[in-house]
Amino acid sequence: MTNPSTKDAAPPGVVYDEAAIKRKLGAAIGLLAIFCVTYFTAAVIATRDFRAIGQIDILGMPLALYAGLLVFIVGLVVTRMCLNQDKGD
């Protein structure tokens, strides 16, 4: 259904490519899945319910600290991957 007030949403020469959108969607879901697994895991092991895991000592420091720092590292890697995908497109 096309709305008359928005018929010029797509600029001239831009065509709808469902396969390309699905490919982009898959890539976005993949990147977000990588980040969200790190993010929510780090958040959950920092709670009082799971602090036994967060307090595991690795090289003298608790796992929760490494998990928090890992969120930043994974976030920066995902950012670069996202921009590199744009270059590929």
């Binding site: 977000l32 967060g54 929760a64």
Partner: protein, 539 residues
């Protein structure tokens, strides 16, 4: 501060004059509504990245997180990680398509696909609700902060803060605001790094990792305050506590107490934590003052490049915040304990960073920190006002009330809107002056995550989304998030057997998503889905 600290006061005043001058300079580049709303779309990605950084880092990020870490330890760092994570979500899911499919406001995206006045009005209403609610804690925080820093009355500080905010928007529009936000972003980052470097050099032998190792032997002040009566402090030649003497005495007497890096001491239970981090993750994708910044650049690629600069800046800033928070805990240990014993936890949180500045570099550093705090508050507040006035003027005045109005009339309406919204937020700030600022901010993230975030993401990715689904999602998300937020305010433990959490996102987000999907499956008006999605995902 004030006239007791003339150097610091002068630095603050000079920074304020510079801010107003930049706004006035921006006026020369603001002749049309497009200039006022989005600086004509001519901002470079690098400048936009720094402006987004300054816009996003409010006083809560600059003072609140580091102050909270100084009091409770690593658990308070989680809010900072959530603030950072939100940008990854925005970059991957929204930045490019949002820029390609909109022009000035969030409503543009929805109306671009579905058309119709009802959606435009609903989007404007949600923008103003979120924006005004977000503006209130900025003014309340600024009022309390400058009451403490300057010794002025709360009423005076909120009036001065609100006046400067309104003046900046009226004078300059988006061009002046962008330059101010970018400059303020740099000030914020430099001020935090300055504290980090000075603390490491003066107190930790120039080794930043010594801050971490020392923190692992320090009992957080919130844990130590309960046992202070039993702590035996060895006498010192000066007759006063050195920075580490008291902390070492607490550790010596209570080896079983947690240290500053022990997780799970101050964090909530798992459901409250999941709700909080979900609200933080999705909240930015629904904050109008952040989203409008993506329209100030040329295209989707520039929007993403700007977001990358913001993300790198936030990563550096929030990691520095952890080190500065720990350093503050150890250097100001006696002062923090004293404030906690006096029942001044809020003051201890807000004043920890300015006090550290004074301790490390005297009035000059205190002045820079005060300027940084002012920068954080102003840049966020002005960004909010611009996004709200743009929505009022573009979506309602030009879109519904007077479609044939001239550019000048729309610009005047936008500036009048800035005055009215500033006055409303000012009155609300006086009314809510005793409310917890953190709860107000969390409420805004929760509401944004439950309303705009799911609607916008599905609009730019799902062909089957319908207009009725969008309306259902916005309405249900807004109602559920507001009900649970105000239940929290009123200390209601549960609603119809459902436990009230610290953040409404765990209920608001699924409720909005389910409403959108179910109603979309039952209705047919998908708007001009093919043309819209083609435009949103063009390269």
């Amino acid at each position: 501060m004030g006239f007791e600290n003339p150097i610091a006061f002068t630095i603050l005043v000079v920074s304020l004059i510079a801010v107003v001058y930049v706004s006035w300079w921006g006026k020369k580049h603001t002749s049309t509504t497009t200039d006022f709303y989005v600086a004509g779309g001519k901002i470079s990605p690098r400048l936009n990245g720094w402006a987004m950084f300054g816009d996003y880092c409010s006083a809560a990020s600059f003072l609140g997180v580091a102050g909270a870490i100084a009091l409770t330890g690593i658990d308070s760092w989680w809010v900072a990680i959530g603030f950072f994570g939100a940008w990854i979500f925005v970059l991957v899911a929204l930045a490019g398509p949002l820029k390609s499919s909109g022009k000035f406001t969030v409503a543009d995206v929805l109306v671009g696909r579905f058309g119709g006045r009802s959606l435009k009005f609903l989007a404007m209403f949600t923008t103003v609700v979120i924006g005004t609610l977000y503006l209130v804690p900025q003014i309340v925080g600024a009022g309390h902060l400058f009451q403490l820093l300057l010794g002025w009355d709360y009423m005076v500080t909120v009036f001065v803060s609100a006046f400067i905010m309104g003046l900046m928007v009226i004078l300059g529009g988006m061009m002046g605001t962008t330059y101010n936000q970018a400059i303020q972003g740099v000030i914020l980052l430099v001020a935090m790094l300055l504290l980090f470097v000075l603390a490491a050099l003066i107190y930790f032998g120039g080794n930043p990792f010594a801050i971490i190792s020392q923190a692992m032997t320090t009992v957080p002040p919130t844990q130590a305050v309960g046992v202070m009566a039993q702590v035996v402090v060895p006498p010192t030649p000066e007759g006063a506590y050195g920075p580490f003497v008291l902390a070492e005495a607490v550790r010596a007497g209570f080896a079983n107490l947690p240290h500053a890096l022990t997780p799970g001491i101050a964090t909530p239970d798992v459901w409250n934590q999941v709700s909080l981090v979900l609200g933080l993750l999705l909240g930015v994708a629904g904050l109008p003052h952040i989203l409008i910044r993506f329209y100030t650049v040329k295209d989707a690629k520039d929007a993403k490049k700007g977001a990358e600069i913001t993300i790198i800046g936030l990563a550096v800033f929030y990691i520095a915040v952890l080190f500065v928070g720990f350093a503050t805990m150890m250097i100001l240990y006696p002062a923090l304990i004293e404030m906690l014993q006096a029942g001044q936890r809020g003051r201890a949180t807000n004043m920890a960073i300015p006090l550290l500045g004074m301790e490390l570099g005297g009035e000059v550093v205190l002045g820079i920190i005060a300027a940084g705090a002012m920068a954080a508050m102003l840049s966020t507040s002005v960004g909010l006002l611009i996004s709200m006035t743009t929505s009022l003027s573009h979506d309602v005045y030009a879109g519904v009330l007077r479609p044939n109005s001239t550019d000048r009339e729309r610009l005047v309406f936008a500036k009048l809107g800035a005055v009215v919204l500033t006055v409303i937020a000012l009155l609300a700030s006086i009314w809510l002056k005793d409310q917890n600022v953190a709860i107000l901010v969390a409420m805004c993230f929760g509401i944004a995550a439950s309303t705009f975030a799911p609607v916008l993401i599905l609009s730019v990715w799902w062909k089957g989304l319908t207009k009725e689904g969008v309306i259902a999602g916005l309405v249900v998300g807004l109602i559920v998030s507001l009900v649970f937020t105000f239940a929290r305010f009123s200390d209601v433990p549960e609603i119809m057997g459902i436990r009230v959490l610290g953040n409404p996102a765990l209920y608001g987000v699924p409720a909005a998503l389910l409403s959108i999907i179910l109603v979309s499956l039952l209705t047919k008006n998908t708007g001009n889905a093919r043309e819209f999605l083609a435009a949103a995902h063009r390269n």
